[in-house]
């Protein structure tokens, strides 16, 4: 039996029924990582001791015949921007090359409390800044479907590990599409929850008003299990909401008949590759056939989302990344004569080109004389973009959109053109600016077998409906598969 291709429930059942021990399962995953990951590059650090300690606990429960927790014995991977106590956490940056965090990220702690085995830390763009994973200071990640192509970013390692069966599921972070876009490019499910739904305690901050933590998984049901585990109020993050967490799994099978599905023409305009457009349009037809009402909506400010995002995100990043100064943790330049020289040399020698570019852009946008023209302007347009969604959601329950305008591109194709790379986030940044939930699910393939993904966007705190529509579509595929 191939244990590495199982879903969360099937993995947990296999351990519960003692078809395999959690310890043996962890070893199988580590063997697979040892064999396949040199070509892919998804893992930066393995946390074998930690995973095996948890596996021993789970095996003891199973041996006593006790009911395992929801993720009992399930091997997962964690994006390297989420801190893990005692396990090296680099955020994909040289500046944190030897950083051993003294505490655990809440989302990671909650997965482990639910029985998950944390296999290791997953590669990503430096400080989650990128759309191709080529900005990792350590090594690029290769798309498991086609090793000459990018896996997307910034959670490229999380998407690739899940797609290549090197983890049952993974945690990623999403500031402008960094969960959904790599999920789309690698052919897995990726969910960005509502702002405030999941605690960010222990997430190394990029842009605090846009950063989210969420799951990448092989099925919508697995994403629902992961979200249910990590969601909910955390006293350590004052931006986490008090709203109770619904039973996302129980909601999955409710019928979708009569739901109103919004289609925004702004998301199907120029720049959308036909290889993406066609499968997404086919999904809309499929949902209509399932009894959903298809309603045209308008999100008129969509074309302003990228410029708005790249001001807000870089301004916040320039402030957040000021903490990396070589004093309390991380890399420090040597041979310096003064404190100010130490700051400059430390940051110069250990930040990559994209991180420097964003710090520069953000610092410029916040600097005297430019604050009103750039930062304040962008904050105002953020209001307009959010109002677009509020109006659309007064008419519909969810909105369908492409995730990425193109399938996975070749490694190296866009590295010299930052603006072209930014424009690849066109369909995803809006959900971060407005704080609404969005999922990317696989919806087809190109002729070259490259995965295509599409998004389902929902109302604030309505992940349940987003997941339900995603699950209905996914189930309809499996049903037609069996004919």
């Amino acid at each position: 039996m191939d244990f590495t291709s199982l879903t969360i429930d099937a993995t947990r059942s296999a351990v519960q029924e003692r078809k395999i021990s959690a310890t043996a399962l962890a070893e199988i995953y580590y063997d697979k990582i040892g064999k396949d990951d040199p070509q892919i590059g998804a893992y930066l650090t393995l946390s074998k001791e930690r995973a095996l300690a948890k596996a021993t606990e789970i095996d003891a429960l199973a041996a006593k015949g006790e009911k395992l927790p929801p993720l009992g014995g399930v091997p997962v991977g964690i994006k390297d921007v989420l801190v893990t106590k005692g396990v090296r956490t680099t955020a994909g940056s040289k500046i944190l090359g030897n950083y051993i965090p003294p505490y655990d990220c809440t989302a990671v702690a909650r997965l482990e409390a639910a029985g998950a085995l944390v296999l290791g830390k997953l590669n990503c763009d430096e400080f989650a800044m990128g759309s191709s994973n080529e900005n990792s200071a350590w090594r690029p990640v290769h798309n498991p479907r086609d090793l000459s192509r990018v896996p997307g970013g910034s959670s490229g390692g999380s998407a690739a590990a899940t797609a290549a069966d090197m983890a049952v599921a993974a945690l990623g972070s999403d500031t402008g599409g960094s969960i959904r876009q790599p999920a789309s490019l690698c052919g897995v499910v990726g969910l960005k929850p509502t702002y405030g739904r999941v605690s960010r305690y222990g997430l190394i901050a990029f842009a605090s008003s846009l950063d989210h933590i969420g799951p990448l998984a092989k099925t919508v049901r697995d994403a629902a299990i992961m979200l249910g585990t990590i969601a909910g109020r955390d006293p350590m993050d004052s931006t986490s909401a008090q709203l109770p967490v619904p039973d996302y799994v129980a909601e999955l099978d409710r019928p979708v008949r009569g739901l109103r599905i919004g289609v925004a023409r702004e998301y199907f305009g120029d720049g959308l590759d036909d290889q993406v457009r066609k499968p997404v349009e086919a999904v809309i037809q499929k949902l209509a056939a399932l009894g959903c009402d298809i309603v045209e909506v308008s999100l008129p400010h969509t074309k302003y989302a990228i410029p708005t995002y790249y001001i807000v995100a870089t301004a916040e990043a320039s402030s957040n990344l000021a903490r990396f100064d070589g004093v309390r943790y991380g890399y420090r330049a040597t041979g310096v004569r003064s404190l100010s020289e130490m700051y400059r040399r430390t940051r110069d020698q250990s930040f990559g080109a994209e991180v420097k570019r964003r710090i520069m852009l953000g610092t410029y946008a916040l600097s005297a004389g430019y604050y009103d023209a750039y930062y304040l302007k962008a904050q105002k347009v953020r209001t307009l973009l959010t109002r677009d969604f509020e109006e659309a959601f007064s008419k519909v329950d969810v909105i369908i959109a492409p995730t990425s305008p193109t399938p996975a591109f070749k490694l190296g194709e866009k590295v010299d053109d930052p603006l072209a790379m930014y424009l690849a986030d066109i369909y995803t940044v809006t959900a971060n600016l407005a704080g609404i939930p969005g999922i990317s699910i696989p919806c087809g393939e190109t002729k070259e077998k490259l995965p295509i993904g599409m998004q389902i966007l929902g109302k604030h705190f309505d992940e349940a409906t987003v997941l339900r529509v995603a699950h209905a579509y996914e189930s309809s595929l499996q049903a037609s598969h069996h004919h």
Partner: protein
């Protein structure tokens, strides 16, 4: 060109970055190309629009003293004082240089 070489040097200084000659040239090109695109925001009249700093701004947090379950909550006071902080040696464990009590840095006063 919006950004000049002088601006690049000034902003790098604000951001505690030095940048090599080559990096400065590239930064000049990239910042100008990105800012050109960002200028499309000026097509919009936003004179009467409120800025949005946080998603909670849309949930009415802080308005009329009413607390929604969606808004960000205040933390309860911890009556026995502040939460325990990290032990000294743990807080210093990742420091590039320390004397066991303090973080050690090069001389601060330069002249």
């Amino acid at each position: 060109m919006k950004v000049s070489e002088k601006d690049v040097a000034y902003v790098a200084d604000l951001a505690n970055l030095e940048l090599t000659e080559e990096e400065r040239g590239r930064m000049l090109r990239d910042l100008n190309s990105i800012l050109d695109h960002i200028d499309t925001l000026n097509e919009l009249d936003t004179a009467t629009i409120q800025p949005m700093a946080q998603v909670s701004d849309r949930f009415g947090a802080g308005n009329s003293g009413q607390e929604s379950e969606r808004s960000y909550a205040n933390r309860d006071d911890v009556h026995e004082g502040l939460r325990k902080s990290l032990p000294h040696e743990v807080a210093l464990a990742n420091a590039p240089d320390s004397d066991g009590v303090f973080f050690v840095v090069p001389k601060v006063i330069e002249r």
